[in-house]
Symmetry: C2
Subunit: 179 residues, 2 copies
Amino acid sequence: MSLRHALLGLLADSPQNGYDLTRRVEETLSGYAWSAGHSQIYPELKRMAADGLAEVVDEGSRGSKVYGVTDAGRAELRRWMFSPLSEAPARNEFVLRLFMLSSLDLPDVRVLAEQMADASDREAVELADTIKMIEDSVPPDQPHGYARFAAEFGRRWFELQRDWARWVLEQLEQAPRAD
Amino acid sequence: MSLRHALLGLLADSPQNGYDLTRRVEETLSGYAWSAGHSQIYPELKRMAADGLAEVVDEGSRGSKVYGVTDAGRAELRRWMFSPLSEAPARNEFVLRLFMLSSLDLPDVRVLAEQMADASDREAVELADTIKMIEDSVPPDQPHGYARFAAEFGRRWFELQRDWARWVLEQLEQAPRAD
DNA sequence: GCGGTCATGTAAACAGTTACATGATTGT
DNA sequence: ACAATCATGTAACTGTTTACATGACCGC
């Protein structure tokens, strides 16, 4: 149940309501870390309050409920951060497709593997641009937050995909009938 | 619904029963591509048969049902392989934790980031060993299949985690209050 | 007043995990 | 005979997605 900890982490940053949390999850986490819609977030906030990990600290102008993290919540967040990584089953469609390549005939394999590598390359280049923009917009020696972390991770991730796709293609060209 | 396509891909390789499929998903896909238990696989096979993508091609000695992929199934597999990647929401607990690092105090950040980088490094080294073993066990110029693909991906993936974790730590040390 | 965004919720459907359940075959 | 493995299923539960639903506030 990592959604709970994602919310705890965002609330630890600053108290906010469910609407803001929904946007922040979408903007800062949904790329590579976690994702959830408002219909999952509102009930979870209630449960977290019931469990004493979060509490309503303020009521916004439009009757919105601003949640903050409690001491117990902060303790739980830290406990989770230091707990052993629960090897959640990996699910990655890109990787799955590359594994399944050998079910196609060689011409198809070539076209598809190159297509996938090129798509990853385009994403990597785009993220490199994003990074440049972020770096330029923030004075040196200043912190630049989640956005920079995410972009850097994304760039490395898409480069990995691109390079691995090309490597798989090489293997299949050398020895068409793998496995 | 990628489980269906994972099964289609495995069946395209060779017809087999649900029990074998369960083991192959666990052994070859569950690391980085996809995962599912037998309780998900058996009903899905029935549905695939009902949809005309797979069919029982043989009955094994113990009354097992050996499924094979139909022409429609092969067409569907190919269609899926070439269809645009549905950006399934990324969920990665490792990445999530590194994003949440700034909720800890600096000494904790140092300890945890180093711990995580070291853990990833150990996994990368282990996979490098696995790769060496695979390469040694297969004569050169022979195909080496899924296992080698997976190990190579895993090694690159854990190296990415290791390097990115160390980079994040650097950023946080330079400017403690990110975001 | 009207459209956009803020703001919160519930319900139904689907996907995935864990637990329960059963029985046949093979090797010792 | 017994244990391990082969083999297939269902049920209950949890987590996630999509759709439905409502209303307040703000700027024009």
